[in-house]
Symmetry: D2
């Protein structure tokens, strides 16, 4: 009944690196939050306190800042992640696999006297762009994504005909508010892509579909949004969505003698439904470690 | 050495009321977080547990939802707050003063097939619009505001020539990143205003000034932004700003043999400077209770 | 209609300083979050960008760390705050008033092999101890406090006999759960006190009273707790409490054929009541700036 | 190149159910946060908006509250989760697998007049107890856990002899502060256990080991703590730990002429190292879905 060391991994989280591109005319602002995760030959550190193979997390932080100085990789989260993952695996002997997860916070250019200003920005809180890149020396998995994209339909959504049992008290709704904060991740079939163009294409497909369809369930909405994204960008193998159902309940004003024909709602944030789905191409290979954060569940 | 009851107040916080305007053509979405605070004759509840004058906070919540059904007040946070404050003071005997604080979360209309969609929205995270209205049966104070407006200049900011003592280690900076998350509140001279137009005017003045000036200190930036706002909207008596200094430190890459001429920064969020200033008209009266939340400091 | 600079203040927030006392036997751990706020002659910085009187917030941070090395002040938040406030006002020409706000996170000593361990600790999350000290060169105000103290009574609480109007739907409750997260601040009559003993005395009085009384309203609970605290510690002039009402609603299980005689509750955290009260000695002077954070409301 | 639906799951999150045990003498308080996740035959909801097999998340919420009324299951998170998981899979036709994740917030009994009070409590913030139970009609996986357990050693920790490269700037430390917020999960070999006793045994082993050992790396600390837990409770097959390294940097006071021999530290919370490890029995079977939340990574 001996005890043994199983899977282990480590890294640095929430490295907040900001890069300014100054070369030509107006500045560009790249605002990143980077997480590094390394897997490899670190048994001796656990079992004996022998750190000779361990890259300190402080060093991984320094490395992220150093790579942010490279114009050829820093402009897209996917290329930034690829460069970092390849460095850790190819250049550090003990590292067998690296996973780089990035958040990119979008900023909007401000205007002054009615014209775009070359170096003043306001943060767009409309969404956060994400990427995660995994590399093990042989295989590479690039996943792009988005989070904190909050969308709402004031009509064009129903939830009816559901299963009932002794615990059912919900009334069917033929017309309700549908709201959710979308987190989506999509895995690319290759790594030589125009990342910005792909991101814009997928985001447009998600938003256009959310607006344009009549929803019979958040599950159906997820399916339709994902299907539209894969149709719009044939370079995507699989897309996963996680959508909390941000409930908006019609408030009972009749008790107070006030009419409420679909006008006033209570945005009730706990508890919430959480609906998750994957949409894949028929011929896509197994995603392997693409979406797998390792231990950090 | 008797003990006595001093100032007291109570209310309901974080009432999340969402209103849909459906009347004509495209829907409008109004997404509010409302706080109610009441001051009055509630000594017996404290001293004897006699609740006969106490409006339950549950009732104040119901009242907020009921007033959200009124088209004539709900479209602007200032008018919504005015109606609620007047109700509580004028209609409830024990209430001597009411303060309604509101947050309005802006949403953007989505497009579908290239045209604006009548009932699909995405939340703009660019800022939150706020208002607080105080009424005591005689006087009324309306304060508009904004929060979570995050802005950044990649250049055009310095901090030099400061006081030094034995605890000084900061180097003067002739060119630095300036970033802050603006919270501003401005007190109006009267209550018969076009609230939306005033809000847009002040926001434009704040942003245009932030972009357009060269900053020698965040204090100076606050002054210039506030001065511009009061100049742009003569109906504003006083504006107060609270600006955390979101530090961006040039990362020392020389240690690793990498050149860093103002390119790579560490966004370090704790601790942070906090700079606060008020800008007033010479002839403005004392703000009295306009900005005072009562006890809730 | 000229525009003028009004009240302004600045400082450094969330300075996370940890001090270890190593001198004799077991270590002591002091885990602080410190905020510094300075008021004074800083008009030129705003109006002209002339920083010659401005102590950089970076310097105030350094100063906090330097004072943390002093054994004679660091062990109590009140004495730590007093030393810092006096330094800024007495030693820095431009500073007219300083306010130091501190949070002290309590830690518990771990055991090993059944005996207390000299240098291993676990953080107690039961509450946070606070203090704020204000000094203007003449007057000194010391306020001690507590926050994040979450307490609950499963019975012994009612809310009945309240005011009703057309918006009332709440049913009177003769037996309900009462729960709140207490924030309290108390202002001392002098500054030569045994701070630890005073804190322990007040906390004991608050908790003992919360447990021992039958509550007819959270307002009454606040009054009784505050009265007990001022009775227990005659050195306290005034105590202010802010108590969110953490609602626990009996869940309607009858609909599902399950009996629920006061057993199963839904802890519903938004919206929440917020009840605030002050308890004072009859002969206490005006608190002046004791509780006033300045602009940062 | 058709698009197809892949893995999907849904449920309700953050169901805040509070149970009072009133039967005999002093009350007992059980304060839960419950998440439900269901996997099964829900393709039609996605592809056609046919909800006939879908248990609404509202119903799952009702079910959690109803089961909280059952004395035989509610007292331990593991038994509560087992009962709920079995219900969803065994009683609802479309559900093939259920995963119930629970947080239990511990409360401490207050005293009044020096004796334990029968119905007044204060929340212990020292940690949160967790459990997750997965059941697929055949197999059952029970995982117990703890989170938000923040521990610190003021000495008895080093980090030396690590790998260096061109990005290394960290100095080796022979004596440093070690601090972390422990999240641990451990998978049981069978499901007929005294859950409370097992939890207490594992927690004691973790804390005693953290206090008693000299750490050469956080990796080693994780290994030793896990090894001690598996030794103390032979019913545990595998334990996984996630430990953010809460950095405490010695503050450079020499620059200001102040000596700092291991006294004053800056608690710097971003970025942070994140160290994760698994400790297993040699003869433990594959954990299968025990630790796998499905899609919600």
């Amino acid at each position: 009944m001996a005890v043994t060391l199983g899977h282990n991994q480590y890294g640095k989280d929430e490295i907040r690196v900001v890069r300014v591109l100054r070369d030509a005319g107006p500045h560009t602002l790249l605002d990143y939050n980077v997480n590094v995760r390394l897997i490899g030959d670190f048994d001796a550190a656990h079992l004996e306190g022998d750190n000779s193979t361990v890259v300190p997390t402080d060093t991984t932080k320094n490395t992220v800042f150093a790579y942010a100085a490279r114009d050829d990789v820093v402009t897209q989260p996917e290329s930034f992640g690829l460069a970092l993952a390849r460095h850790f695996v190819d250049d550090v002997a003990a590292v067998a696999q690296a996973r780089i997860s990035l958040e990119l916070y979008p900023w909007l250019r401000l205007t002054h006297d009615g014209v775009p200003h070359p170096h003043a920005f306001a943060r767009s809180g409309a969404h956060v762009r994400t990427a995660s890149v995994t590399y093990d020396g042989t295989g590479t998995w690039v996943v792009s994504g988005i989070t904190d994209l909050t969308v709402l339909k004031t009509t064009g959504s129903a939830f009816e005909g559901f299963y009932t049992d002794q615990y059912t008290t919900l009334e069917p709704a033929s017309d309700r508010i549908l709201a959710t904060s979308v987190t989506a991740q999509w895995w690319h079939g290759d790594h030589d892509r125009d990342w910005q163009r792909s991101f814009d294409t997928v985001l447009d497909a998600l938003l256009d579909t959310f607006a344009g369809h009549h929803s019979k369930a958040l599950q159906q909405t997820i399916w339709l949004m994902g299907e539209a994204a894969l149709t719009a960008d044939p370079g995507v193998n699989e897309l996963r969505m996680t959508c909390p159902n941000a409930h908006h309940f019609l408030y009972d004003l009749e008790r107070m003698g006030v009419d409420n024909p679909g006008l006033v709602f209570h945005a009730d944030d706990r508890p919430y439904g959480l609906i998750e789905g994957s949409i894949r191409r028929d011929d896509a290979p197994d995603p392997g470690t693409a979406f797998d954060p390792g231990q950090g569940w």
